[in-house]
Amino acid sequence: MKSLRWFIPVLHLVKKEFRQILRDRKMLRMVFMMPIMQLLILGYAATTDLKNIRLTILDQDNSPDSRRLAEAFFQNNLFVHGPAAAGQTEMEEHLFRGRADVTIWIPRGYANDLASGRTAEIALAVDGVNSNAAGRTLGYAQAVVRQEETRLLEQKRLSQPALKIHRVDAVSRFFYNPELESRNYMIPGIAVILVTMISGMMTGMAIVREKEMGTLEQLLVTPLSPRQLIAGKLIPFAVLAFVELGIAIPLAVFWFHLPLVGSLLLFAGCTLVYLLVTLGGGLLASTVSHTQQQAMFTIWFFTIFGILTSGYFYPVENMPRWIYLLTYANPMRFFMSITRGIFLKGVQLGDVVQDLIPLFIIGTITFTVAVLRFRKRIA
């Protein structure tokens, strides 16, 4: 009964807050467009797949063997034909001007070397500007050459029945995402970013806005206790975060065909824990900022750094040791791993506990500090 009496004024404040949000048409449009835009743009653009690598081949041997090797590169749709080159200088020029990503030179005598049992050499040059793409391009090219090599050896074996070749044959099996579609991995990450932006940034700015306008003082002279005030200001943004997810998840599942194998209930529960962090963070930022601009910069800075060290783009294991250690303090890292696990691998509560506990600890600390600071500021 008592708790109900405590809660009723909070509800009034929540109602006022919602009215304020709903009245601002532009704001409202933004709130609904944001998940759709982000999913569409990030879903299509944020791919770390490598496609359409432009490969220029200079085949100076021009034999059936060399042509077969050249064709082998274009068989799996990774490489596309780059501009033709008549000589080595022209090939280098294509690389320098960025017209080709990688060039291969098959020198004269390739077929001859193969026939006489010598090792035939071919030269590859790759544009290293995009280090990641270059490294992978190199790997793909080597895989093609390996395959061609296996084929040549097989041919040799068939012509010499006495010859025995022993080799290890690797058979790969991919779990959870057999097509290795990078989009499936990125989209659950977008949900994490959406929740962070909506609940963290909007909370912080909404509170500072009231400060800036002087209306916070007016709220303080009402009989609301500081706790009720905080609850009333935060609840609408928590609700909003779930609204965003309610738009984003169906879009992800029906438009992008994201496999959703885990439990939505578990996801909702983990989101609640994560909201402790983002709402607390927004509140905390509002206590250290005087203007919306400052609040925005502060939250934006932490959000971006959080995204980068969450493993959203690249695995955290890549990072230098000291940043890798920092990621353990990054709540987004844990929530990212939970979300991807639930969506793609269908993990259960028992599997997410290792991520949920640190998330809960960070959330509780952030939230407590924020509330204490906020109460001190308004006292």
Partner: protein
């Protein structure tokens, strides 16, 4: 002109008085380059692989040693049975598991092919493909040694001699830092200008300024001038930091780079002006700046995601993103040593002039409405 400079001076005083925001505008880019430059390390390494060695032989141990000898793969320890593999994936204990079957060594000497199973967590498709490729390369190297090493009878037929140009050690930071400069520049320039103007609108002081004999366009462009300075300062600091901390090479010329950068700063500021013309609250201005300029500058500029891998619609869209051209120029100058970019220069000039004219027009018609 004189009145415009007076406005510029007034804005300069505003900035000077708000030390905290100024410090933020200068310190934040530096911190961003430092942290992001390290955090955006795309070179895959330390990927954990679990090993299920059912053979326990010299040959199987040799294969494991070959696989774990680089820093790409970290040994996540021996598994006892297949039942450990899936739970391991679910708890992210390792990205892949290698299963070496019973009788591996024996089969290697008697059979033509000996299977080894690679079980890979495909959730992160890109990493999975890299792990698969790496493990297969190790096995291919083993196969080569089997035919041509001691006891082998053949020479390997084909040898690929790779050479990497412009970034021979494939250092991720050399790729990321120039792109980062363009993202930071657009963020700082667009946000600062749009918010500075919208704040005056919101607090009503814009009206006061407009009651003075100063012309509307003079107010707007006067307000922007100090931010050109901040933008130029930020650009210099960011690029210097890339040079000093991350060792990004300078194959071209700093002066040429500075000229192109100035053009880019003008585009960014004009975008900021445009946003301030169509928004009324700082909050809206900020959201518009982030979604309208920053996001596309990160996502569609080729900053980290290759444009050529995108669907054609987004590829087409990327042509109107100024950051795309600036990043091409930055990388071209710093890494390749190219100095002359006629296509990019023409497009950016058109963008700068067009955006400035558009902003001027918007303000002409809107100022009465303030």
């Amino acid at each position: 002109m004189k009145r415009m400079l007076a406005i510029a001076f007034k804005e300069f005083l505003h900035i000077k008085r708000d030390v905290r925001s100024l410090a933020l505008a200068v310190a934040m880019p530096l911190m961003m380059v430092f942290l992001y430059g390290y955090a955006l390390d795309m070179e895959m390494k330390n990927l954990k692989v679990g090993i299920l060695d059912l053979d326990h032989s010299t040959a199987s141990r040799d294969l494991v040693r070959r696989m774990t000898s680089s820093n790409f793969i970290v040994d996540a320890g021996r598994l006892a049975s297949r039942e450990e593999i899936e739970p391991g994936f679910r708890r992210n204990r390792f990205k892949a598991a290698v299963v070496i079957p019973v009788g591996f060594e024996n089969s290697l000497q008697t059979e033509e092919t000996t299977p080894v199973q690679l079980l890979i967590d495909g959730a992160d498709g890109t990493t999975a493909a890299a792990v698969d490729n790496y493990l297969k390369a190790v096995i291919a190297a083993l196969n080569r040694d089997l035919i041509s090493g001691p006891g082998g009878k053949l020479t390997p037929p084909v040898e690929l001699r790779p050479r990497v140009l412009y970034n021979p050690e494939l250092i991720s930071a050399h790729f990321v830092v120039p792109g980062l400069a363009s993202v930071i520049l657009i963020m700082i320039c667009v946000l600062l200008t749009s918010i500075a103007i919208v704040r005056e609108k919101e607090t009503g002081t814009m009206e006061q300024v407009l009651t003075t004999p100063v012309h509307a366009a003079e107010v707007i462009f006067g307000k922007v001038i100090p931010y050109v300075g901040i933008g130029a300062l930020d650009a210099t600091l960011v690029l210097l930091m890339g040079r000093v901390v991350f060792g990004v090479p300078m194959a071209g010329s700093w002066w040429v780079l500075a000229a192109y950068s100035l053009l880019y700063i003008i585009i960014a500021l004009a975008l900021g002006l445009l946003i301030s013309a169509v928004t009324h609250t700082q909050q809206m201005a900020m959201i518009a700046a982030l979604l309208g300029t920053l996001m596309p500058s990160i996502m569609l500029s080729g900053f980290i995601f290759p444009i050529s891998s995108m669907p054609w619609g987004l590829q087409a869209l990327s042509h109107i993103i100024p950051a795309r051209y600036y990043i091409e120029i930055l990388r071209g100058i710093m890494l390749r040593g190219e100095l002359w970019f006629p296509k990019q220069l023409a497009i950016m000039t058109v963008m700068a002039v067009g955006l400035l004219l558009l902003a001027a027009k918007k303000f002409q018609s809107r100022l009465d409405l303030l």
